[in-house]
C-alpha cells in the first residue's frame, strides 16, 4: 500500500502545503494575524493567468511570472489599505478585516468576471510524465517538488543572510524590540506580506494546474490546508510550518488510502479534528517557536 506512487503524491501535496503554511505563518509570526484573505491570492494568480491568456499571446512562463507578481502586489496592497489602519486595534478587528477582505476579493471576482469556472492555460509539461523504472511520474509533481525546494532554500538564505531577513526573524521574536533597533515596523510587515504573496502565487500556479481552471472560491481549500498545516507544525515557527506542511501531505494521503469509503467524505473533518486536538493538547504545535505570543501594533 505504501507504494512509491503513494509517497510521491504525498510529497507533492506536502510541498504545496509547506509553501502554503509558510506564507501564512510569516505574517502570523509578526502580526499574530491569521490572514483569511490568503487563499484569495491563489485565486488572483489564477484569474491573472486566465485574463492574460484571453488577451495576449504570451509564453506560459511570462504569464506565470506576472501572475505571481500580481499576487505579491495584492498581498502588499491589502496590508497597506486594510490591515495597516487596524493593526493597532484589537486582534479581533484585524481578523474580521481579513475575513472582510477575503469576502471582498471573492465577490469582486464574482461580480467582475463570473461565478463559473474559467479556463487557465497550462504548460504542456504539466500533462506529461516521466517514466523511471516503470513508474510514470507526472512532470507536474516533479516541478512542484523542485520549485518548492528552490523556494525553501531561497527563503532560508534570505532569512539567514540578509539584514532584512534577520529583521523579519527578529520581528517575529520580539516586535517591539525590533522597532527599538530602528527597524521600521511598516518595512518588516510589508516584506512579510510580499513573501506571503510570493508563496501563494507560486502555489497558485500549481493549484490551478490541478483542474486547469479557476473559480471565485478556489482559495477556500488551500486556506484550510494552510490552517491545518500551521497548527500541526506550530504557529510560531517557520520551520514548523514547513514540517507541518509535509506532515499534512502525508496524513491526508494516508487517510485517503486508509479510511473506508463511507468515512472518506469526512476526511476534511478529520483534519480539523486533529487541529482542535493539537491546539488543546499542545497549542505550540510540534515545533515550539520563539515568539512570545504577544501581539503587536
Amino acid at each position: 500500500m505504501l507504494s512509491v506512487e503513494f509517497l510521491l503524491n504525498a510529497i507533492t501535496l506536502g510541498s504545496l502545503c509547506a509553501l502554503l503554511a509558510l506564507g501564512l505563518v510569516i505574517v502570523y509570526g509578526i502580526l499574530k494575524l491569521v490572514n483569511f484573505a490568503y487563499g484569495e491570492l491563489i485565486m488572483i494568480t489564477g484569474y491573472t493567468l486566465y485574463l492574460l491568456n484571453a488577451s495576449f499571446q504570451l509564453p506560459w512562463l511570462v504569464m506565470a511570472l506576472i501572475g505571481v507578481l500580481i499576487a505579491m502586489f495584492t498581498s502588499y496592497s491589502t496590508e497597506l489599505v486594510a490591515f495597516r489602519p487596524v493593526r493597532t486595534k484589537s486582534l479581533s478587528a484585524m481578523l474580521i478585516t481579513s475575513f472582510a477582505v477575503s469576502t471582498l476579493l471573492q465577490n469582486a471576482a464574482l461580480l467582475l468576471i463570473s461565478p463559473r469556472a474559467r479556463a487557465v492555460p497550462l504548460p504542456k509539461l504539466f500533462s506529461a510524465s516521466l517514466t523511471v523504472m516503470g513508474i510514470a511520474i507526472p512532470w507536474r509533481n516533479i516541478l512542484t517538488v523542485v520549485t518548492s525546494l528552490v523556494l525553501l532554500i531561497g527563503l532560508t538564505l534570505l532569512l539567514k543572510k540578509t539584514i532584512l531577513g534577520i529583521a523579519l526573524r527578529a520581528a517575529a521574536d520580539n516586535f517591539r524590540m525590533t522597532r527599538l533597533m530602528g527597524v521600521p515596523a511598516d518595512l518588516v510587515i510589508s516584506t512579510a506580506f510580499v513573501i506571503s504573496g510570493l508563496m501563494a502565487g507560486i502555489v497558485g500556479l500549481f493549484w490551478v494546474g490541478r483542474t486547469a481552471s479557476v473559480t471565485p472560491t478556489i482559495g477556500g481549500a488551500p486556506l484550510l490546508i494552510a490552517f491545518v498545516a500551521t497548527v500541526i507544525g506550530g504557529m510560531n515557527s517557520l520551520l514548523g510550518a514547513v514540517v507541518g506542511g509535509y506532515i499534512y501531505g502525508l496524513i491526508f494521503s494516508f487517510l485517503g488510502v486508509m479510511l473506508p469509503q463511507t468515512l472518506l467524505d469526512y476526511r476534511e473533518a478529520f483534519m480539523f479534528l486533529i487541529v482542535i486536538l493539537i491546539l488543546l493538547i499542545r497549542p505550540e504545535g510540534l515545533i515550539r517557536g520563539a515568539g512570545t505570543g504577544e501581539r503587536v501594533g
Partner: protein
Amino acid sequence: MLTVENLQVAYGAILALKGVSLEVKEGELVALIGVNGAGKSTLLLTIAGVLRPVSGKITFGGDSLVGKSPEEIVRRGISLVPEGREIFSSLTVEENLRMGAFVRKNQAEYQQDLEKVFALFPILKQRLHQLGGTLSGGEQQQLAIARALMSHPALLMLDEPSLGLAPALVDQIFDLITRLHQQGTTILLVEQNVDRTLQIADRVYLLQTGKVKFGGTAAEVRHQGEVEKVYLGGVE
C-alpha cells in the same frame, strides 16, 4: 541634550506619570531612582517612543520627539536597553548584534564596532554563534548592552541592568557603565541598587508615584536624606 517637560503618560484611565520634568546634558550620567511603580520604566519607554504621552514635551538635541515612532527615535541616537533585556532569543549572538547595528549606514565600520564590543564583552566573542536564548542571565545583559552600543547611541538608556544578576556580575555591570561614561557616552540609568548608583551618577532624579520628588547631584541626594524617606516608608 535631552529635556523632558511636564510629561504625563497614562495606562488607560490611570496616570502613570503626572507631570515629570528632567534634563540630561551631554556626557552626563543621570540616574533615575525610585520604588517599583514610580514610573521609571514608563518614562524610558515614553522617551523611546513606545508609549505616547498624554501631554508634555520631550526634546532631544532641539527636536521634539513626541509622536515620533520608536524606529525614528533610534535613528536620532537614543538607544534603550529595556528591563528584562529582551534580547532576540531565537537569533544568534551575532545576529543580535547585527540588528543592533541596523541603523548604521556605514556597514564597513561594522567589523570595527564588533571588535570594540568584543573588547568590552569578551564572552560574547566566544558565544558568537550561539542562540541568544541559550545565554546565561549575565551574558544576556551584556548582549543587550552591546546590542544597544552597536547603534553608536548619543544617549544610552539602561533600565535596571543589574536586575536579577549575581553580586559579582552586578559589579561587572556597574564597572562597565562607569567605563562607558568615562569614554563619553551620555547615559540615563534606571536602577534599584541605589548605593551603587549614587556612587557613579553625576546627577540623580528621585521618582515617586509618577512625579519627580527630588533632583540634584548624587551628593545632595545623600545629604538631604531623600532616599531614605522614599525607600524607608517615608509616606507624606
